[in-house]
């Protein structure tokens, strides 16, 4: 991949276009369309996850110091489940869907055929470098496409391992990995793809979509946003706290697109919540969390500095009620809770994507809806309550990619729910059958016979034809009979 120039491997537009051409040829030859090919590739992917578990865990440890447990549960196991589900359901997903036809076109039959889009590009993120790379690839393969995967250069060990393993296990005539950074990505984006799936931030999302527009390529954009957690009083506080911790610091130390970004609770309840968080945090990560092996580190110094800057804002730094310890050399930041930070501070206006958790207090919880709706639409929103009315209001008033009541982040693991954003948090959805759909074109097919030809469709047009047409389109049998016998209305 790439040509060498003065000892440096260059991957430019020429190399990118060559890959698209090669994969296009494999796709045109029909190879990827067969059930057998899709099955064999999904099985190979499952094998990658099964046989190289330790290598994957090591790579994730290298890139993010991701705890083994998280690496297994949130990346490897999720990917395996995704492959298994696709393998189990593939026949069923691929089967054409019969639909009813109307009286107007009788006699006929119709169906929807799922066809692959062609050669697709998957650009993935660094925070879950395995899952977010391969989960979309599962969908793309299941739907019968040829795929190019561009893993994030910010998780280099994972990127390298993906390139190696996919090169060994997958059919390289139709599935490729291109490693690289901005230049390589730009070269890829210049090409004509049949679908682009991008996971990352809204800024690059715009660039991807604008590049796609040149070739009229549909996009799946999995972006992020500030996912809020509303916490009611009078709930099971321990369970609530632990579930917030699991979703925030237990998900790559907050570097996850569906991690809780901030909490909204009532003024009265906030101190109790803070106390409970402190207590449970210590149970989970001990007295010196900077040393904890159960927390990921910050991915790189850029992001570490970004987070540090959020904390250093003078209006914010005084609001720390727990944590705040940082260690630059190890790129560590301890779980940090901030109470009552100003709504117009940077930390409340950018996606945090790290271990900082601000708490905003309100008089009445209903006010939270306005706070959430005054920002851009988040990828997820969470609510902890026993109040039925509040649940209903939440579901009705909060627009987000997904909502979870009384838990955080677990909707990601449910393949029967579409996973995707709305507004600033993205376009389109995937997971389970939704992944298959995201990489398929729903082709409408009508079968007609030569019989049953109605002259009313054809010119010359007459008044009688108009009457019959009205009746037919209206679907009224009586009207049809009247029109046929020439009785006017």
């Amino acid at each position: 991949m790439g040509r060498e120039e003065g000892g440096v491997v260059i991957f430019g537009a020429k190399e990118a276009s060559k890959i698209v051409e090669e994969l296009g040829a494999s796709f045109s030859a029909g190879k990827t369309r067969t059930y057998e090919w899709r099955r064999s590739q999904l099985k190979s992917l499952l094998k990658v996850a099964k046989e190289h578990e330790q290598e994957i865990i090591d790579a994730l440890s290298g890139d993010l110091s991701k705890p083994e447990f998280e690496a297994y549960v949130q990346e490897i196991a999720m990917l395996k489940n995704s492959c298994k589900l696709a393998l189990k359901e593939l026949k069923h997903w691929m089967a054409p869907e019969k639909v009813k036809t109307s009286l107007t076109t009788f006699p006929s039959s119709a169906e929807i055929v799922y066809e692959p889009l062609g050669v697709v590009l998957v650009i993935s993120a660094w925070n879950y470098p395995f899952l977010l790379s391969l989960d979309p690839v599962v969908g793309a393969i299941a739907a019968g496409n040829a795929v190019v995967l561009k893993p994030s250069e910010i998780a280099p060990a994972s990127s390298k391992l993906l390139a190696k393993l996919l090169g060994e296990y997958m059919d390289t005539s139709s599935i490729r990995v291109v490693e690289g950074a901005v230049e390589e990505t730009s070269a890829l984006l210049e090409q004509k793809w049949d679908k682009i799936c991008y996971t990352g931030n809204a800024r690059v999302g715009r660039i991807v979509m604008a590049a796609a527009a040149k070739h009229l390529t549909p996009v799946l954009l999995e972006l992020g946003g500030k996912s809020p957690v509303i916490v009611d009083s009078g709930i099971n506080l321990q369970v609530t706290t632990r579930r917030i911790i699991a979703g925030k610091w237990g998900c790559n130390n907050g570097q996850a697109c569906i991690s809780p970004d901030y909490i909204i609770t009532t003024k009265d309840f906030a101190p109790k919540l803070v106390d409970s968080l402190k207590l449970e945090l210590e149970k989970c990560y001990g007295k010196s969390p900077l040393e904890s092996k159960d927390l990921s580190r910050i991915v790189n110094s850029n992001h570490w500095n970004r987070l540090k800057k959020l904390l250093d804002d003078e209006r914010v730094s005084g609001k720390i009620v727990h944590g705040g310890e940082v260690e630059e050399t190890k790129l560590r930041i301890a779980p940090t809770i901030l109470l009552d930070v100003p709504r117009d501070s940077l930390i409340m206006n950018e996606e945090i994507f790290g271990p900082l958790l601000p708490i905003i207090t309100v008089e009445k919880l209903e006010e939270s809806f306005d706070i959430i709706n005054s920002g851009t639409k988040p990828l997820a929103a969470y609510l902890f309550t026993d109040d039925k009315k509040l649940k209903q209001l939440f579901v009705k008033n909060v627009s987000a990619g997904g909502l979870v009541i009384n838990d955080t982040t677990i909707h990601l693991a449910v393949h029967t729910l579409p996973f995707g954003g709305v507004g600033e948090s993205g376009i389109g959805a995937y997971h389970g059958k939704f992944s298959f759909d995201a990489f398929s074109h729903k082709k409408a097919v009508v079968y007609r016979s030569f019989a049953g030809d109605a002259s009313i469709r054809y010119a010359p047009y007459t008044k009688g034809k108009l009457r019959l047409l009205r009746a037919l389109m209206g679907g009224s049998i009586w009207g049809i009979i009247k029109a046929i016998f020439g009785w006017s209305n």
């Binding site: 549909p218 099971n236 729903k442 082709k443 054809y458």
Partner: protein
């Protein structure tokens, strides 16, 4: 222009406010608006017909079949199904999540804009509107300025009959479209050409707005060498009606060109001539059964297509143009050069090139060497050929032994792929096109699974592994301390 900008911004502010008020979310509001739309059409049918005649010379029967009737049918279908569409769909969850519940709840995007096209100026504006309203959005419609009578009709009558705080019509040309595209929408629905489609999507990218692009393309019709004379007659009739019936070929799913075997071409041409005469009269421009070309610009464009000398030589039927009345008679061309514009650009008019092949099987390769069309039509009784077309070509839709009827099936998604666009509508797909499918999970505080939380240890890891494998027996053994 500045006044226009002001009006536009006021209108937008109003529809945004209306959406925020939550009014459009109620199903009864949606139904009332759909019923109002039926009323609008029923009360003003004659005016619609007149506008369509003024813009395009459409005969009332054609206008009813392709526009008024289509819209009424769609509204009735939406009214009959809206309760089902708006209901949350339950999702089954693995036992491990018990007693949590999952559901997918459709919610409106917000404020949407519909850019419609001039060829079916009523249907292409109102058909998407039905979906946008059914899904509970507030809507701005920008009708094509090239069908000015219809645009004026919509701008005048929609506010009279429908909720004018939620549904606006903004008239204008490219300038207004540009202004509209600078705004932040929650969804853009566009019907038109790939060139403008690119502009629309580029503008949408600035605000991360999802788009549906309904474009066109060269829709081929494969005509196999049928043996039964009755089948041949039916096939030719359907092709003639599909090519020259709806808006004189100015239709995105109209027949663009034909693929037939060499020996069969004369059979088709011979029969088609007779049927054209029967349908549209000996002198079509006098019978008024065919629509005219929309405007001078398009008339010139079509004239250029056939003025190319090599193309002109290939005309075997028709070819006469009436500039004054913007009328082009049904024209058949046999084997025009494949690199001529008529075979590289979407024709969008009453010209029908016939390309002959030695064997009809070659049609698949012919189609695949060109951009993906919005529709493929094939007249054949050969099941193997049908299978080959279905599995080896790609297009928005495929219709066997007829043309254009796929547009009328409410249960089929209508939309393109590749150069012919993306996204789909009609029936429930219209509803989905204007809805965000929100995933909702209802959890409870009990039971609480300890192994979900750090600090991590061996037991927790085993537990999770078994849990993911949905190995409930193994989980039980682990919890009882039997399994290591």
């Amino acid at each position: 222009m500045e006044a226009k900008i002001e009006v536009l911004e006021e209108s937008l502010a109003e529809v945004r406010k209306t959406f925020r008020s939550g009014k459009t979310r109620s199903v009864s509001w949606r139904k009332n608006q759909l019923r109002a739309l039926i009323q609008l059409i029923n009360d003003n049918e004659d005016k619609v017909m007149k506008a369509l005649y003024d813009d395009l010379g459409k005969h009332p029967v054609e206008a009813y079949r392709d526009e008024v009737g289509v819209v009424l049918k769609s509204i009735n279908y939406a009214l009959n199904n809206i309760d089902k569409w708006t209901a949350a769909k339950k999702s089954s969850l693995p036992l491990l999540f018990f007693p949590a519940k999952g559901e997918v709840l459709p919610e409106p995007f917000g404020v949407v804009v519909i850019f419609s096209s001039w060829n079916f100026p009523i249907a292409m504006a109102l058909d998407p509107l039905i979906g946008a309203i059914s899904a509970g959005n507030t809507v701005v419609i920008k009708p094509s300025e090239q069908a000015s009578a219809c645009s004026a009709f919509l701008a005048h009558y929609i506010p009279l009959h429908m909720d004018s705080k939620a549904i606006k019509v903004i008239e204008g040309g490219a300038e207004i479209s540009e202004l509209l595209l600078q705004q932040k929408w929650d969804k853009i629905f566009f019907t038109g050409s790939p060139r403008v489609g690119r502009i629309v999507m580029t503008a949408a990218a600035r605000h991360l707005t999802p788009v549906t692009l309904e474009l066109g393309g060269k829709c081929p019709t494969i005509l196999d060498s049928l043996s039964d004379p009755r089948d041949i007659k039916v096939a030719v009739k359907r092709i003639v009606a599909g090519k020259w019936g709806p808006c004189s070929g100015q239709a995105c799913i109209g027949v663009d060109y034909m693929l037939v075997e060499e020996k069969f071409a004369p059979v088709f041409i011979e029969l088609a001539q007779g049927i054209i005469k029967r349908c549209f009269g000996e002198i079509p421009k006098e019978t008024k059964r065919m629509a005219r070309i929309v405007n001078k610009h398009h008339f010139e464009r079509l004239r250029n297509l056939i003025e190319d000398p090599l193309v002109a030589d290939s005309i075997v039927y028709g070819g006469s143009l009436d500039e004054e009345n913007l009328f082009i008679e049904p024209t058949i061309l046999l084997n025009p050069p494949l690199d001529a514009e008529i075979m590289t650009e979407e024709i969008f008019g009453p010209l029908l090139p016939i390309i002959t092949l030695r064997n009809i099987q070659e049609s698949v390769e012919f189609i695949n060497s060109r951009p993906k069309p919005l529709a493929i039509y094939a007249f054949t009784k050969n099941e193997a050929l049908k299978g080959k077309i279905l599995s080896e070509t790609s297009s928005g839709s495929v219709t066997f032994n007829d043309v254009m009827v796929q547009f009328l099936c409410d249960e089929l998604p209508f939309g393109g792929v590749g150069q012919s666009g993306f996204g789909r509508y009609h029936g429930k797909y219209s509803f989905e096109t204007f809805s965000h499918e929100k995933a909702v999970m209802h959890g409870s505080f009990f039971p609480e699974i300890g192994p979900r939380y750090p600090p991590w240890n061996d037991f927790k890891q085993k537990f999770i592994r078994l849990g993911y494998a949905l190995d409930y027996f193994g989980l039980l053994l682990l919890l009882l301390g039997i399994k290591r």
